[in-house]
């Protein structure tokens, strides 16, 4: 009798433990980011790149290197994005055309796919500034952020035994802190880059393309693309020919994935599924008890 009592208590504790799991897990969604926060993006920090004004001097990439303590590289030849370079200037025009340059770096999406993808919350969006940055202290180097990024701008130091995710963070620890502006914008001599709040940048971009409709394509890239970005572009050439992703649409790639994953929200479905599995398993398990030696 005593034996069976202790046995029952043990079993009760065990069941309690199992029941507790979903309750603990159900608190977790609250810790995730809320999409609603991101709609208020007027005050986010960003910059506007006006392709028609860029002369391709690469002062921006050079300044980025110096300020962010990146390994030295030659700036005479164009260098593409790599673990040694957080930003680059690409020549995107064809032969016999006037040169058209486009700056590439993290777009600082309003609803970043990389942040949604990161399993350990190492990739984060700063709620105040909208800056997307990676925290190496928690990053496990799984590189799912790179798979998720539609702009393919996230880099990784492949050659290092202690590698890092490398991307533009708008100089948040360096030039932005010291001088209140990203280094690339700080040094731009041609006025192709301007820095400021997203709301003001959008107004300026819209003013420019309306004032000179012949010079500009009537679109501000990043206003809505991929859910909107803090880095905005205007240009005299259509954007698909400027190495921007095709079929991105106006929705962040994170939205579809997260709506599929919402099946797991609050952990209700898996718990229900477990109970639904447990009932027949336990019935059939007992039924076959002693059938043959090789159970399981």
């Amino acid at each position: 009798m005593k034996n069976s009592e202790t046995h029952n208590i043990k079993r009760k504790d065990f069941l309690k433990g199992i029941i507790a799991v979903p309750f603990v897990l159900s608190g977790l969604p609250a810790m995730g980011k809320a999409r609603a926060l991101l709609t208020n993006s007027e005050k986010n920090l960003g910059y506007l790149f006006d392709s028609t004004k860029c002369i391709g001097c690469r002062a921006c990439t050079s300044a980025c290197h110096q300020v962010n303590d990146m390994p030295p590289i030659s700036h005479d030849k164009p260098v593409d994005l790599s673990e040694k370079s957080r930003t680059t200037i690409r020549l995107v025009s064809k032969r016999n055309e006037a040169p058209v340059y486009v700056k590439k770096q993290c777009m600082h999406c309003l609803d970043p796919a990389c942040v949604s993808a990161c399993p350990v919350s190492a990739m984060r969006i700063d709620e105040k500034t909208g800056i997307v940055d990676n925290d190496p202290s928690t990053c496990i180097g799984c590189r799912y952020c790179m798979v998720a990024c539609p702009f393919d701008v996230i880099q990784f130091s492949w050659e290092s035994a202690a590698p890092n995710i490398i991307k533009c963070n708008m100089c948040r620890e360096t030039n932005l802190k010291d001088r209140g502006i990203a280094a690339c914008v700080d040094v731009c001599p041609s006025g192709a880059l301007i820095f400021g709040n997203r709301g003001k940048l959008l107004a300026e971009a819209s003013k420019r393309i309306k004032a000179e409709p012949k010079k500009y394509v009537q679109k501000i890239y990043g206003e809505k693309d991929g859910g909107g970005t803090n880095v905005l572009y205007i240009a005299g050439k259509d954007f698909e020919s400027m190495d921007f992703p095709k079929n991105l649409g106006d929705e962040s790639p994170a939205v579809l994935t997260e709506s599929i994953q919402s099946i797991y929200s609050w952990f209700i479905a898996p718990v229900v599924a477990f109970i639904l599995l447990y009932i027949p398993v336990s019935k059939n398990y007992k039924k076959h008890s002693g059938d043959d030696q090789l159970d399981l």
Binding site: L28, P119, V147, F156, Q261
Partner: protein, 391 residues
């Protein structure tokens, strides 16, 4: 040492080859930890190579025999398939354990791996988090599911010489079956966890919508991944049952395997129908023929699925273990190719990036497959896994 040398020299040559690969692999993996992931051909455009796609995505899919057999036996109450369960669980246990090892080798910042264990660092929106946690939990579940074999074998040699493992094995198996609540919970989890992460391995690529070719990108990826597990898991069970019967000089389980072949053929057919239905529903049927080399990969994937499925339907009349084996190979190839296509072949980041696995990556993958194979053979010889022929 001499004893080990002698026992190796007595082994057949394919085992010696496999041992060579494993040794080479261990050296290469150590090399990778000192040199960084530059020894691979991965790039910013292709951040995932075969160590993720073949070792983990395909490797765990191949290890779903335990999952599908558990569904058949414990949910649909088909007790006659019982003799196949334990060897299926063993393959699954090795498949998943080896996938776990591959993940550690592939993780750039592996020393931060424990981030995954801290709930306050979890990003609950991340598909990869769910996959990682489910896979970790499932590795433990699989070894507990296999523990009755350790328990029956008993003794204090091998893994049972490790004190806490012996205690754990004895604790889990002290109660008779039927009264053993621990095992019932574990078996239920052993169905729930693969159901979650094998579908989510499809969801993982949904986010790459601008890079993944439309022949593969669809919100139905999780469902397609899950259904293809149906035939892939059962085919692996058939292959390993036939192979271990041959290896241990026992009679083939032709009766059970013929019954199994009908289930395989139906899931295969279901997958093919769904694959085309999704393409038609999304208005992508035109792409099947017009996508150049992508069309060729798609055709190969579908053709092998169709051939395998038709052969499986023929098994019922032919009752030939050879046909079961060949059609299983076709279907496993098809489902593996579907995963490789979704993760690498159909994945195009543009900007002139390309990916072909490096020698280190290829040898590393061979080493892990060889290790899995060797350990499987060792285990079926050491533990009561394959049932003695009663028929």
């Amino acid at each position: 040492m001499k004893k080990i040398q002698e026992s190796i020299s007595q082994q057949p040559s394919f085992i010696k080859f496999a041992l060579l690969f494993v040794t080479l692999g261990i050296i290469l993996f150590l090399f990778r930890f000192f040199m960084g992931l530059g020894v691979t051909n991965m790039s910013a455009g292709y951040p995932w190579g075969i160590w993720i796609v073949i070792d983990v995505v395909v490797g765990t899919a191949i290890g779903t025999g335990g999952f599908v057999m558990a569904i058949l036996v414990y949910i649909f109450n088909k007790g006659e398939y019982h003799p196949l369960v334990r060897s299926a669980i063993l393959t699954s246990a090795f498949g998943y354990t080896i996938a776990g090892i591959s993940v550690i080798v592939d993780l750039g910042r592996w020393w931060n791996f424990f981030s995954l264990m801290f709930p306050w660092r979890w990003n609950v929106h991340s598909v990869l988090l769910e996959v990682a946690l489910c896979v970790m939990a499932y590795v433990i579940v699989l070894w507990i599911e296999f523990s009755p074999a350790f328990h029956e074998k008993g003794g204090e040699s091998g893994v049972m010489s490790i004190g806490f493992i012996r205690k754990l094995v004895n604790k889990v198996n002290e109660k008779k079956r039927g009264a053993n609540k621990i095992l019932i919970v574990v078996v239920s989890l052993g169905i729930l966890l693969p159901l979650m992460h094998q579908s989510s391995l499809g969801t993982v690529m949904v986010i790459a919508k601008t890079k993944l070719h439309p022949l593969w990108h669809t919100p139905f990826l999780p469902l397609l991944f899950l259904i293809s597990i149906g035939f892939m898991g059962f085919c692996m069970v058939a292959i390993e049952s036939l192979y271990s019967s041959m290896y241990l000089n026992r009679k083939y389980d032709v009766g059970i395997l013929t019954k199994l072949s009908t289930i395989i053929a139906i899931t295969g057919l279901a997958w093919i129908v769904l694959r085309f239905a999704v393409l038609a529903g999304e208005g992508k049927t035109g792409l099947i023929a017009s996508s150049g080399s992508m069309s060729a990969y798609f055709m190969l994937e579908i053709a092998t699925a169709i051939i395998g499925t038709l052969l499986m339907f023929a098994v019922k009349t032919l009752k030939s273990p050879r046909i079961i084996f060949i059609s299983s190979l076709f279907l496993v190839f098809s489902a593996a190719l579907y995963r490789i296509n979704t993760y690498i072949v159909g994945y195009n980041p543009g900007s002139g990036y390309s990916y072909t696995p490096s020698l280190v990556e290829t040898l590393g993958t061979f080493a892990l497959i060889s290790a899995e194979f060797l350990l499987y053979l060792l285990f079926i010889r050491t533990f009561p896994v394959v049932q003695e022929d009663k028929h």
